[in-house]
Amino acid sequence: MKIKKNVAISESGFIFNPTTGDSFSTNPIGLEIIRMLKDEKSKDEIRKAILGKYITDESTFEKDYYDFVMMLVNNQVGDDSE
């Protein structure tokens, strides 16, 4: 999954998609994940980073990551053609 190139992401977690005009806000962990996706990190790299930094388990990460990524795709912030 890739974050679309023209999507603007601010320090505060405010996300603006200039193609659709939609804007969203995300919490700090969501912002971290989006930044990693924007840097084209793989899902494995993101998993390692999150599990290494926060107290959570693999299955919770899997579920929440999938939900989050689907939300990004549905809102046209991300592109899952990869």
């Binding site: 023209n6 603007a8 193609t19 659709t20 005009g21």
Partner: protein
């Protein structure tokens, strides 16, 4: 040094379904090239723009379009004798036909310039002809058909499925889910705007609009796309944001280039979930949100005035993306004397 000019502008009805007059005036007042004196042209005595003296220097009532071109010419000649008009920008769909008819005459007789679409362009983009317009210019348009009587309702179900869109000749549109609703909307719209009524295929998606300016030679001077963020119960944008949508701008450029559109215009589209664009409507004048274009760096009304005066205008190029407009309402306190003056003398 700025060039001093006098521009007459109509559409001063800055109400919940606003005319484009006040946004056009605001853009002109911010011109880098012109020092503009604004003459307001109004039809009603309660058009708020009449009383906005910081924007409108002097106002005159003009006859309703139904009075015809002779009455309009006579009134414009009177106003010109007082104010020495350089340019007129009419902003109502319903008045455009009359102004188009007299464009050459007032240029020759009074020296007043306008920059309006040709009669052919005006007719071609009419709601009733838009499907054919789309086919001619290679733009997707929902299938539509004119209806002149409620007796035609049973037959339209063979060509359309519910829901379908029932549109008035000039303004307003409703979504009908059954034959009863089609009949109700037919009667409501025909009583208000006359015949024909247009039945249009319903396309589901989000509405995106473009305000644009064509130079009449096939060049798009500017095209700025916007998505409505807040819509009133009349379907008007109360807030919106400029978009980074090159495909939409390309379609607008294609329409302008192919039709050699002359003047300001608004293109209304539906963007489907599959990212396909359907052209719903072309309004033959600037929209009420045209000030957003000026806010994005494309002062379209100023460019239109330059074109009207025969000056060279190059396409603007890039515009600012992610700029928003948010409308608000504002209560002006007006002295009864002013209302009396516009009501009795027709000038303010």
């Amino acid at each position: 040094m700025k060039q001093k000019i006098t521009v007459a502008v109509s559409g001063l009805n800055n109400i919940d379904s606003p005319g484009p007059g006040i946004p056009v005036i605001r853009a002109l007042k911010e011109s880098n090239n012109f020092d503009v004196r604004i003459i307001g042209l109004s039809y009603e005595t309660l058009e708020p723009g009449l009383y906005m003296h910081h924007l409108v220097d002097k106002s005159y009532q003009i006859p309703l379009p139904s009075a015809g071109i002779d009455a309009l010419l006579e009134r414009l000649t009177y106003i010109h004798n007082q104010e020495k008009l350089d340019v007129i920008i009419p902003n109502f769909d319903a008045e455009l036909a009359n102004f188009m008819k007299i464009e050459n005459r007032i240029k020759a007789d009074l020296g007043i310039s306008m920059f309006l679409p040709t009669q052919e362009q005006f007719d071609e983009r009419h709601k009733a002809n838009l499907y054919e317009f789309g086919e001619a210019h290679g733009v997707s348009v929902p299938y539509s058909k004119m209806m002149f009587s409620t007796a035609e309702i049973p037959s339209i179900t063979t060509e359309f499925t519910y829901p379908m869109v029932v549109k008035g000749r000039f303004y307003e549109a409703y979504i009908a889910y059954n034959a009863e609703q089609v009949a109700n909307y037919f009667n409501k719209l025909s009583a208000k705007w006359g015949l024909p009524i247009i039945i249009q295929e319903y396309v589901f998606g989000s509405e995106v609009n473009v305000t644009a300016l064509g130079d009449g030679k096939g060049n798009a001077i500017s095209a700025v796309p916007m998505r409505k963020l807040f819509i009133t119960d009349k379907g008007k944008a109360w807030a919106g944001i400029s978009l980074d949508d090159s495909e939409l701008v390309d379609i607008a450029n294609k329409v302008i280039s192919s039709s050699k559109w002359r003047g300001g215009m608004e293109l209304e589209f539906i963007k489907t979930a599959e990212n396909k664009y359907y052209l719903l409507e072309i309004n033959p004048r600037f929209p009420a949100w045209v000030y957003l274009a000026a806010g994005c760096g494309h002062n379209q009304p100023e460019a239109l005035v330059k074109l009207a005066l025969g000056q060279n205008v190059e396409p603007f190029g890039n515009y600012e993306i992610g700029k928003m407009f948010i409308r608000y309402s504002y209560d002006m306190i007006v002295d009864l004397k002013e209302f009396e003056q516009i009501s009795t003398v027709g000038e303010l």
